[in-house]
């Protein structure tokens, strides 16, 4: 889903850069007010962590494989705005260092693979806390569904951008992209839920730290009480 240079029409690439830059710029300004210096190395190693786990391939039907995107995981661990920043750095690093994803498509790629997942899952978490009971099952379900949806939404956006650019016929590409990503999304959801339940069991304070409120005071598994 890393869109290379030349796959997007100039106007589509420029249009997609607007929300990507806006979200990252807002995140940076917000971090300037609320983030203390000691968290900067932490964000850096988390970016390296997301970069590394994107190498985790898992099988999808028919011999193809997908890999983790990490946007939903980052959103829960860091909060939506810091996740935007970290995902933007990861995607930009892939473009500059590995030539994976075009420099001119950077806005679209950051938006599809980072901003949408980070803000979408962040918003879902906030809403869930308002209207649903705060417990482990709800938390993990929202994270899992959010992870799946973030992959599907990213695939939908990428197909729409490629279709609008006239690179591929939208009506033909959309079912193919969504079909493959429905399965990749399951992998993303399974990994995200397993990762978060393990964090809940060992370091629930980290999730509390991301601003998702009273979740860590909700009853956890017995194993968690032993471990913490």
């Amino acid at each position: 889903m890393h869109i290379p240079d030349g796959f997007l029409d100039g106007s589509v690439a420029a249009t997609m850069a607007v929300p990507a830059v806006a979200a990252v710029a807002y995140g940076v300004r917000r971090a300037g007010r609320t983030l203390d210096d000691s968290k900067v190395p932490l964000l850096g190693v988390t970016a390296a962590f997301i970069f590394a786990v994107q190498m985790l391939n898992f099988p999808v039907a028919g011999g193809t494989s997908g890999h983790l995107m990490g946007g939903a995981l980052a959103a829960v661990l860091l909060g939506p705005w810091l996740a935007c920043i970290v995902m933007a750095v990861v995607v930009a690093g892939q473009a500059f260092v590995f030539a994976d994803g075009g420099i001119t498509a950077l806005g679209a790629n950051i938006f599809n693979m980072g901003v949408v997942g980070a803000l979408g899952v962040g918003l879902a978490m906030v809403l869930a806390r308002r209207i649903l009971p705060a417990n482990r099952t709800v938390f993990l379900s929202v994270a899992g569904v959010g992870a799946w949806a973030s992959v599907m939404l990213g695939a939908l956006l990428a197909s729409a951008q490629l279709g609008l650019s006239g690179t591929v016929p939208f009506a033909t590409v959309l079912p193919a992209m969504l079909g493959v990503h429905a399965l990749i999304g399951i992998g993303e959801a399974v990994i995200t839920v397993a990762a978060l339940s393990a964090v809940l069991a060992t370091r629930p304070d980290l999730i509390d730290g991301a601003g998702f409120g009273p979740l860590s005071t909700a009853p956890l598994t017995p194993a968690a009480e032993v471990a913490s």
Partner: protein, 255 residues
Amino acid sequence: MSGSHDHAGGGPVGDLTSRVHRLDPRAKIVGLVAVTLVGVSTPISAWEVWVACGLVLAAVAAAGRVPARVIWVRARVVLPLVIVVAAFIPFFRGGEVVASLGPLDVSREGLEVLGSVAAKATIGTVSAVLLGATTSVPAIIRGLETMRVPRLLTLIAAFMYRYLFVIAEELRRMRSALASRAYRPRTALQAAALGRMATALFLRTFSRGERIYLAMLARGYSGRMPRLDPLRLARADAVFVGLILLTLLPLRVIS
């Protein structure tokens, strides 16, 4: 999602003392991004501009003595995506039909889209590869920092690059531990073990982040990264950017 970052990795190659390698990173960023912008904004009717972009990139590669094999290995990530576009060509309706493969018609419009996407993707990817092959990542980050990219982003990028290979190596060891216990997932539903592994890795990463900050404090960190060698633009940098722009812009305007 076909991105695989398992390949050789970035880092400068070729003659590390060449004129191109010694240029200011900002000059290389501006010059090579300009090649990409010109290439990507050119329509297929002005294909001579793509040839000129290719020649400029070849000249940069030759001046930096970047081996063709390295460019090929690093640029081929883009290949599967171009093939995917090729697979959709028959579905383009309308336009003049130039060939038929069984029930599918290949239209001129479809071929033009493929040619234009392939040319632009090649120019963009090779530009990025040459930037990475002639400039160290810390230098690129410093260049971006002096080009007014927010300091938080460049700091995160610097830490990410510093620890990427450490963490990737840790991940590799954890994967071989899983594999040696006969873990071989066949469906996406069996990916949960990867998630628990990701958590173990994240917790290690997290405590590493805390340790790094304490170590930085112990070395007198006060919120700024000290720089020993300020970046300076020299005449060679102006010549590099000037030559690229003088070659491509007039041609782009008249075609």
